[in-house]
């Protein structure tokens, strides 16, 4: 009888098949066919997941679909797909969000040239397939395969506008930084394999929790580092804001359900290993809470709506890592589900509102949204409310509240984290509603209606996009999910086998007030001219306040000195001038993501570039030192030895021999004809000779 778990194979298969068809394009598909195929590949996984959910809710929610098994002595390499509550839930979320984003992209990208369109949808489908493979993986090899494939797809998709150098650079940056962190994950997984002699998760994770102390710490730390890199957590966060160079649907998929969320999912998947090591757990909690706070603070001061949302993703995934660090991976997964809905909604709505604006995706491009794109604007408000966590009516409130309550119950350390998380939640509301209030302001005069904005699409004609169901349907569905999803937060946590935390009334009340305080703050910095000017002016570093000066002296200047020290005083003149400015401010610092880019540039990129230049003969270096070193050594050796012994009889005899060798060389060179038939003959004769020798030596 066929196993019902065969369905698991059908989940990542359709997008993978569509990737192959669109990527190879054997049928020279037309535009409509490409779009239809992409839509099919995007939606099919969701419908394949539905019966699996039914299976999971109805009967036993645990099943393994083996794909391929190889046994090496004691070790076992068994590729498999796994159905358990976590993979069902996350897989369903990913499939649903992926389907909606691809539906949206059908209309959003419809102006692209056919070749670009094919490339885009092929990669989007591969991206989705990779994430689904990773989520449903039952062994570490399949898991890592999906993980890496996603990194590759994100590189290609971020660099989608290949004509823009900064897009290509952003893609490269994302790829290199995540690759760097992936190395940690690979090391951790390999150590786990050595420990468990199996790659299957159901064997590996229990074995991982039972090993000796020191290995355990190392493995847990390696896994954590891998997750931090993929999820763009501090200190690996720099690639995510630059990744905004990709088209909006890419950002929507990359930020909500795939890629950055994969790190949090990985931690939740391996949470038994992380959680049995309290020290690593505390580190995870501190990194998570710190990143959440840092991301939220940075997001407030962004002037570009997509960058704002990028920092918001960093912050929200920090919350998930925090929840895992607090020992509640179930809560983290619940937040994952809710975050996937509202973050994709925010990106899609913002993308639709700013699509075609001359101002790109800056906050000003949001202005006048209520009149231009009312549905998108309302959807954005729903998403922002969920992100800010308005009490009761939004899904974000329920999942964030569960994280806060978990922190509150965690003793003194937990309460410290709770305070930090609460402040973060307030900041979240500020940055969530900044674009909303900005959008309420009147439209600036020079927004162009006549041009739709994708750089690839610029040379194409404008097509009015009113009432396209491809845009509206995903927005409406996601908005409904972001608002009503709160109902499912409790069931999700129970479904994953834990109890939803029950917070005390006081902290809950305080947490309920926080979003409103944040909203008031957002309204203040948008509508009070003095404050708005202060934020804008602060970004331009014009008017330092007294607080700024203090901060400058105690935080910025030591930091700048550190950066300069690490750079070895070799930063370019422009960056130097920037650093020299007396009034570098907190805002600027935060809006640049803590200048971590500068440190990376100074620590890694510059030395690497310098070494390469040196190896190529710039800056007094030698060209190809590895190749020239033996040659120069030999030359010096001959000079030192032969010159002294020159011009005697022995030397002449020796040199005659050498000259004969040259003649011999000329003779031997005659063999080298370049004709393949001669070489074939040579190979045959050589083989025959070897055979004869072998025959002769084994003759008895």
């Amino acid at each position: 009888m066929l196993s019902p778990y065969l369905l698991l194979l059908l989940v990542p298969a359709p997008p993978l098949a569509v990737f192959l068809i669109l990527g190879l394009d054997p049928f020279f598909l037309r535009r409509k066919a490409v779009q239809a195929l992409a839509l099919l590949g995007g939606i099919a996984p969701f419908f394949a997941m539905l019966p699996l959910l039914g299976l999971c809710l109805g009967t036993e929610c645990y099943g393994v679909m083996p794909i391929f098994t190889l046994v090496f002595g004691q070790s076992e390499v068994a590729l498999a797909l796994l159905l358990d509550p976590m993979s069902t839930l996350v897989g369903l979320t990913v499939a649903a969000v992926g389907a909606l984003v691809i539906t949206y992209a059908i209309d959003y990208m419809s102006d692209a040239r056919i070749a670009d369109l094919r490339r885009f949808f092929a990669l989007m489908n591969l991206f989705l397939a990779a994430m689904l493979t990773m989520v449903l993986a039952g062994d570490t090899i399949t898991f890592f395969f999906g993980w890496e494939l996603m990194g590759l797809c994100s590189f290609f998709l971020i660099a989608y506008n290949t004509s823009l150098p900064q897009a290509v650079a952003a893609g490269r940056k994302a790829f290199i930084i995540t690759r760097f962190a992936d190395a940690f994950l690979l090391a951790g997984l390999l150590l786990l394999f050595l420990e468990a002699n199996s790659v299957r998760l159901d064997v590996l994770i229990p074995a991982g929790t039972m090993m000796t102390e020191e290995r355990h710490v190392v493995i847990a730390l390696l896994l954590l580092a891998g997750a931090l890199g993929k999820s763009a957590q501090v200190p690996f966060h720099t690639w995510l804001p630059s990744a905004m160079a990709g088209p909006t649907p890419v950002s929507a998929l990359l930020h909500s359900a795939t890629m950055v969320a994969a790190g949090a999912f990985m931690l939740a998947r391996f949470s038994p290993i992380v959680m049995s090591e309290p020290a690593v757990q505390t580190i995870a909690a501190i990194f998570g809470a710190g990143t959440a706070a840092f991301g939220a603070l940075s997001a407030i001061f962004q002037t570009d709506v997509k960058r704002l949302l990028a920092y918001s993703s960093i912050s929200q995934i920090g919350f998930m890592v925090l929840a895992i660090g607090l020992g509640a991976p179930e809560v983290a997964i619940a937040h994952f589900v809710v975050h996937a809905m509202f973050k994709s909604l925010l990106f899609l709505a913002a993308g639709d509102i700013t699509h075609g604006s001359d101002l790109g995706t800056s906050l000003q491009a949001m202005r006048g949204a209520l009149r231009r794109r009312p549905i998108s604007f309302l959807a954005y408000v729903a998403g922002a409310a969920s992100l800010a966590g308005l009490p009761i009516v939004t899904a974000g409130w329920w999942s964030k509240e569960a994280i806060l309550a978990t922190a509150w119950e965690g003793g003194a350390f937990g309460i410290a984290i709770w305070v930090l998380a609460l402040l973060t939640a307030t900041c979240t509301a500020i940055y969530a509603f900044r674009p909303v209030f900005e959008a309420l302001q009147p439209e600036p005069a020079h927004i162009s209606h006549a041009r739709r904005g994708h750089p690839v699409a610029l040379d194409l004609h404008y097509r009015p996009r009113w009432g396209s169901g491809f845009i509206t349907l995903p927005l409406v569905l996601l908005a409904a999910g972001s608002l009503l999803g709160g109902i499912i937060v409790g069931p999700i946590i129970r479904f994953l086998g834990a109890e939803a935390p029950h917070p005390a009334h006081l902290p809950e009340l305080v947490a309920a007030v926080a979003p409103f305080v944040g909203m008031a703050g957002a309204a203040a910095i948008t509508f009070v001219p003095a404050l708005a000017a202060a934020v804008a002016g602060a970004r331009d570093m014009r008017r330092p306040t007294r607080l700024d000066r203090k901060f400058q002296r105690w935080v910025i200047e030591p930091y700048v000195r550190l950066v300069r020290f690490l750079a070895g005083n070799r930063i370019g003149a422009r960056a130097e001038a920037e650093l020299e400015l007396r009034h570098v401010q907190i805002v600027r610092w935060l809006s640049r993501g803590a200048r971590m880019d500068g440190i990376y540039q100074a620590l890694f990129v510059r030395p690497f570039v310098n070494i390469v230049r040196w190896l190529n003969g710039h800056r007094g270096g030698t060209v190809d030192p590895v190749g020239t070193f033996p040659v120069s050594l030999a030359l010096q050796g001959t000079q030192a030895l032969v010159e002294r012994l020159a011009h005697d009889r022995f030397d002449r005899f020796w040199m005659r021999l050498a000259n004969r060798l040259v003649r011999l060389w000329v003779l031997v060179c005659a063999i080298q004809t370049g004709r393949s038939r001669d070489y074939a003959l040579g190979a045959a004769l050589g083989t025959a000779a070897l055979l004869v020798i072998a025959w002769g030596t084994t003759w008895n």
Binding site: Q672, T673, G674, R675, S676, R677, A680, L681, A684
Partner: protein, 102 residues
């Protein structure tokens, strides 16, 4: 399988191999050289089959499958090179392309 059959099969495979090798040497057209190469692969493949049958082992058949895969890969590369040469340099004769030695 009797010993005589085995020897006949081995001789046959050696013959196929030798024919292929002769073709490779005698022909100068790239396409025919590729065909000869395929024959040179087919000879040993038959020898493996015969040897596997003689020893009652499945490894001979496994090697046969490997050789088929190898042959497929080789002919794919070879035909691609052939097409590229035809299109790029309009070359039929393998003896005229000797530039790789430089």
């Amino acid at each position: 399988m009797s010993g005589a059959t085995f020897l006949i099969l081995l001789a046959l495979s050696g013959g196929i191999f030798a024919t292929g090798f002769f073709g490779l040497m005698a022909r100068r057209a790239i396409l025919f050289q590729l065909i000869s190469l395929e024959m040179m692969l087919a000879g040993p493949a038959l020898a493996f089959l015969a040897g596997g049958a003689w020893h009652g082992s499945q490894q001979g058949q496994a090697m046969f499958v490997f050789i088929i895969i190898l042959a497929a890969a080789e002919v794919a590369l070879g035909l691609a090179l052939y097409l590229a040469l035809r299109r790029g340099a309009d070359v039929e004769d393998s003896d005229t392309i000797t530039g790789l030695k430089h």
